[in-house]
């Protein structure tokens, strides 16, 4: 087959100003311009967005879920990082 497969792009959309761009899915496209058009047609047919980002999927470095204990466990023991760790008398009121 003469088809050369088209690279995969991850699509992020800002639904309105004040919100962060959020991952919504992916598209196949030969280049960034085509990826933007495909993302617009696929993910914003009903005014879902004000801004679109497309990122080549291959450019994303992700943590391995199998390593999640090693990655995230160290924070579990640091309960002193949370405000509720500290005792404040009720009389002081909300702080």
């Amino acid at each position: 087959m003469s088809d050369q497969s088209w690279p995969l792009w991850e699509v992020f959309i800002r639904t309105r100003n004040g919100l962060a761009h959020r991952h919504v899915g992916s598209v196949h496209a030969v280049d960034a311009t085509m990826a933007l058009h495909a993302a617009r047609d696929t993910y914003t047919r009903r005014g879902e967005g004000l801004s679109v980002w497309v990122v080549p999927s291959a450019s994303i470095t992700a943590s391995d879920p199998a390593d999640k204990d090693m990655m995230f466990e160290p924070t579990a023991s640091k309960i002193y990082r949370h405000p509720t760790f500290y005792e404040i008398p009720d009389e002081v009121g909300h702080m």
Binding site: G25, D31, T42, R45, R46, P65
Partner: protein
């Protein structure tokens, strides 16, 4: 439903399973944790989901054909715009679903290849013809209505990317059903000939629509594992009954009669009882011998070949731009 043809034995060799890993996985599913793309999962789960999501995607894409058939002949500009938007949505749904299936490790090209070679299936419903404009009303009201019934519980499917795709699809599907029912209302309030056209379309589609939910539970091969893995939340028969209960009053509101003499409301169970479904017909259509199977496959293959130049041109253009961009800094020096 759109994945009813899953009811066949998977002929691929059985993957080795690791009982300890499988039970850790099941514990996560039981705790209603979502499974995400790179998480460990049993090979059978991955394979079942890939087949299910791909079949679902293929159904969306093939489903564009019976409706696309009426775009140029829609009776008004309003109906034409709505139908065009709906067919575009179906293409979009196919795209969300292919993207979800790809996260399981099968490429879009592989899935497309499996559809074109006939190795992968799509919903039996799209092998029936849309003979009159009333069929377009029926497809929206009943085919999309049945799809919604099936897809709402899929929004809670254990596999994250599939569940998220379903949320998007369900939001859009509601417009499809309502525009279809509105077509039916217009026909049923129209001339006697229009009303008759609506009745005949219902007569043609009612039984094939009930078959969309797949074989009865007693004959369903994969219900047990799909329920255990929380891919499915309700069995085929449960969803079919919900659909019949919701739809029959809507048909009566239109003044139409369902082509089932056994259809009767049971006051004790508060459900509509319906007659025996012709499962031999269902098997024939899934096996490839429905009224339009050959035509649909021919159209899909022709589309793939006829559009090859678009894919080639896009690649050539992107390559040329990359080469130019690479040559630029040298020219500037």
């Amino acid at each position: 439903m759109y994945t009813q043809a899953l009811n066949t034995q998977d002929s691929a060799p059985v993957a080795k399973s690791d009982p300890q890993a499988d039970s850790r996985f099941q514990a996560r599913v039981d705790a209603e944790e979502k499974i995400e793309p790179n998480d460990a999962m049993p090979e059978a789960y991955r394979r079942t989901l890939t087949r299910q999501i791909a079949q679902h995607a293929h159904s969306e894409i093939v489903g564009m054909l019976p409706e696309g058939n009426w775009i140029t002949r829609a009776p008004s500009l309003k109906r034409k715009a709505a139908l065009l938007a709906k067919v575009q949505d179906e293409g979009g749904h196919g795209a969300y679903l292919y993207a979800a299936a790809e996260t399981l490790g099968t490429s879009r090209e592989q899935m497309e290849e499996q559809l074109l070679s006939g190795a992968a299936k799509y919903s039996s419903i799209f092998n029936y013809p849309t003979l009159t404009w009333a069929d377009i009303g029926i497809v929206g009201w009943l085919v999309d209505g049945a799809a919604i019934m099936n897809q709402i519980p899929l929004c809670r499917c254990s596999y994250g990317p599939y569940a998220r795709a379903m949320v998007r699809v369900c939001k859009e599907e509601s417009f499809h059903q309502r525009q279809g029912y509105e077509i039916m209302i217009a026909l049923c309030k129209g001339t006697p000939a229009q009303k008759q056209m609506a009745q005949e379309a219902l007569n043609r589609w009612w039984w094939p629509v009930l078959m969309m939910f797949g074989p009865p539970d007693k004959d369903s091969l994969h219900t047990e594992s799909a329920m255990r893995w929380k891919i499915k939340r309700f069995t085929n028969d449960e969803l079919r009954q919900k659909f019949v209960d919701a739809t029959v009053p809507q048909g009566h509101f239109l003044g139409l009669t369902f082509p089932d003499p056994a259809l009767k409301f049971d006051t004790t169970t508060q459900h509509w009882n319906y007659g025996e479904i012709d499962w031999a017909e269902f098997k024939r259509v899934v096996a490839g011998d429905g009224p339009c199977n050959r035509q649909r496959m021919k159209q899909m293959r022709a589309k793939h070949t006829d559009n090859a130049w678009v894919r080639e041109a896009a690649n050539a253009y992107a390559n040329k731009r990359r080469q130019r961009a690479a040559a630029m800094p040298i020219a500037a020096e």
